[in-house]
Amino acid sequence: MFEKIKNNNTAIMVLFSIMVLAGPLIMAPFGAGYPDLLQRFAIYGIFAVGFNLLFGLTGYLSFGHAAFLGIGSYSAVWMFKLLTMNIVPAIFLAVLLSGLAALVIGYVALRRSGIYFSILTLAFAQMAYNLAYSVLTPITNGETGLQLSLHDARILDPVNTSGSLPSTNFFGAAMNATAKTELFGMTLQFNVGFYVCALILILAFYISLRIFNSPFGLMLRAIRTNQTRLNYTGVNTKPYTLAVFVISGMYAGLAGGLLACTDPLAGAERMQWTASGEVVLMTILGGAGTLIGPVLGSGFIKYFENIFSKINDTVLDGWFSFMPDSMADFFVTIVHPFVGKGWHLTLGILFMLVVIFLPGGLVEGATRIGQWIARKTGAAPESKANSTVISTVHKD
């Protein structure tokens, strides 16, 4: 049964959609069921899925993808300032401008390969970041980040007399509207913004799945395997790599636009090299070249950033409060360096553990568990050759 699902696109899509749409329910027991983090899961999922199209298929490691995320955010906020608070034009402009930027940067950077390509993309992104933080302050509002103000034109919207900022909306449905309900003592929060992002994530995932299985995707994988041979056989690979670079850039721009839609502020830090590095780590951690891996990886990192960093000693005391005091103090002392302000440390250790023991990322971990269950239940052992879209791990 496991096998069948893995090879059936419809089943993958249905399963994926259910998992995403049930996000508020699934994540609530882990303390991550609040709108902001759920939105981030979905948005960074889109970002990573797009990055994986480039890196997972062609092997081109871009170290400057955050530039497109930033461009998407800035264009979206400018749309909110000038045109309307409806998110549709904002997303449209975000995707368009980031696509154009990707076309220009990709055209130049794709003239080189390997680490030379990585450094070229890094250079472009760092230039964008440095300029956005300083000289371009009139456009980007520099350090503070581009924000909405009461005096913005918003020519398509009715005149705002309320004295407070309007909220972003999808044809009238406010992105920050949340319905709450109680279930087993947990508060479930169903948020409009999350569902907008979730639907777009599902669509983005579907497009990515189609690209993986298309002749175009096959060509991209051929480029990864041996570009020189392709060139010798008379295939011009540049249009293919450029196309996928632009698509990937548009995914990043879409994610950036959505970040601005859920929270209308665009900061320059979004374009810093660490942000570019983050999406690389998300993809590798989840499993580069697999469909679901990047989504898992982005969820993993965002969970640590938002949940682990908030665990302070009061919370730890709560965890160990069932123990006698001295024992509880002991455990608090042991755990203390790894949570709260030490969340980076835990993340670093986990990066190392995952990459040492699970070369294919989290997806390989899931596959191994799946195989183990299959063996235990007596199902036919899975052969290595029978690799599929979900669990394929490229090695070179």
Partner: protein, 457 residues
């Protein structure tokens, strides 16, 4: 490490926890009807209702270059919560605060709990962290922070979400100028006040005929400080030779410092903060600027915004250098003495200015809630607006209603020549009275913004 003892010395934490657990149950039963839109459910965002506790959010940098400053802010917050709840060893500033309506039994009869988060000194991460506090933990107030970019970003968020923002360390004019918000309040001083306070001291020590060379961090805060200092020094009669922007990411400033010596300038103004300031000052001293005579005068360096942690990082290089600061632990008024004593006994070293401002902000917020008898941000804002108080270390202070900026005395400090300990690095040379640093609401340095209306969510 040094902050481990914070946690072990907190005697009452389990008591707090127990009450917290009870509050959780009550809180859960409150949200009864399924599928209600949150904004219309309560009178205001995160109304604690009948719960026995109320939650505050302390959003400070815990990673990145300002992590130590953030850790100090967190210490102060914890202390403030103890004092408000009446569970600490002593009462710190509570007895010196005038007027006061807090009784040391929480706020409005509710015990105070807090959650913490990491701003990473990035506006994105800070907003994410603040949002999780508001959406997940249900805080009624967010405080903390160590840079103006973050303060302005989080202030904007709190305005939209309908909670109060009590700014931590933020020095840019914009926080209560161009980007002021009805739900945001700043106790810390600003760049304009730094200029106003420094100018007379500079005149007295360095005279009226000086040529200044500015190095300015190339971002919003740097711009506002450069403009402010320029205005006040030029009013004195100083000439500004040059003002050069330096990249935020720069670690080595040698290429910016090297040309200063033969530019004709005899004063170098470093509009830098944190790591930038430590490095540029270290470079400037290395290049021997302070040993030179230019135009027949001794070359001088000025660091308009000082902090003790920065002074620690720059070491001996700060000796004799003037700057301004919001507060310093060597002050001898009753409020400062009470706070230093309380903080020192708890943690074993004196508090920084960031810790002071965060502590005071928390007490002021608590007191305002008590006076208003509610946690509704609009009620609290009304109680804070125009509030006059004393005994908090800065002399008589007023939260101006029009822009939510505190007006109080400003300290001019100088790097000490013979420090007696690693904390005793600055000496207060002048307490500039409030009247001298005050400005009109429509001052051009603060123009372009609008407070808007308070938002209760």
């Amino acid at each position: 490490m040094s902050d481990k003892n914070i946690f072990t010395s907190d005697i009452s934490r389990r008591d707090v926890l127990k009450t917290g657990a009870k509050a959780g149950v009550v809180g859960a039963s409150l949200v009864s009807a399924p599928f209600i839109i949150s904004s219309s459910a309560n009178a205001y965002t995160n109304d604690p209702g009948d719960a026995a506790t109320v939650k505050l959010g302390f959003n400070v940098p815990q990673s990145g270059p300002y992590a130590d400053e953030g850790a100090d802010e967190l210490r102060a917050f914890k202390l403030a919560v103890q004092h408000i709840n009446g569970t600490g060893k002593d009462n710190g500033m509570l007895p010196t605060m005038k007027p006061i309506s807090l009784k040391g039994n929480g706020i409005n009869g509710k015990k105070v709990e807090f959650v913490t988060g990491d701003t990473q000194t990035k506006s994105d991460a800070a907003r994410a962290s603040a949002k999780s506090m508001i959406e997940k933990d249900g805080v009624v107030m967010v405080s903390g922070g160590s840079s103006s970019g973050v303060a302005i970003a989080v202030q904007g968020l709190c305005q939209e979400a309908g909670v109060i923002f009590m700014a931590g360390l933020t020095h840019s004019n914009d926080t209560t100028g161009k980007d002021k918000k009805a739900n945001g309040f700043r106790h810390f001083f600003n760049a304009y006040m730094s200029g106003a306070a420094l100018a007379p001291v500079l005149e007295k020590n360095y005279g009226k005929e000086r040529n200044a060379y500015h190095l300015t961090a190339d971002y919003t805060w740097g711009y506002t400080q450069e403009a402010s200092i320029k205005k006040f020094t030029e009013d004195l009669g100083w000439n500004t030779v040059n003002a050069v922007k330096t990249p935020l990411a720069a670690t080595d400033f040698s290429e910016y410092i090297a040309p200063v010596l033969n530019s004709g300038a005899d004063v170098l103004v470093l509009n830098h903060y944190g790591g930038n300031m430590i490095n540029s000052l270290t470079n400037a001293v290395q290049f021997g600027l302070r040993d030179k005579m230019i135009n027949g005068k001794k070359f001088e360096i000025i660091v308009p915004l000082y902090s003790r942690l920065m002074a620690q990082g720059a070491g001996a290089n700060v000796k004799g250098i003037y700057g301004s600061t919001n507060w310093h632990w060597s002050l001898q008024d009753e409020g400062s003495k009470a706070f230093v004593k309380s903080f020192g006994q708890e943690y074993g070293f004196p508090p920084s200015q960031a810790a002071h401002t965060c502590y005071v902000q928390t007490l002021l917020y608590a007191d305002a809630c008590q006076r208003a008898g509610t946690f509704n941000p609009c009620g609290v804002a009304e109680a804070l607006e125009g509030h006059k108080f004393d005994g908090m270390g800065n002399g008589p202070t007023e939260y101006r209603a029009e822009d939510h900026q505190c007006f109080k005395d400003v300290l001019v400090v100088r790097g000490k020549e013979n420090p007696s300990s690693e904390f005793d690095l600055l000496e207060v040379v002048e307490v500039t009275p409030r009247a001298q640093v005050e400005y009109a609401v429509d001052n051009e340095f603060f123009a372009g913004g609008e407070l808007g209306q308070c938002n209760a969510g």
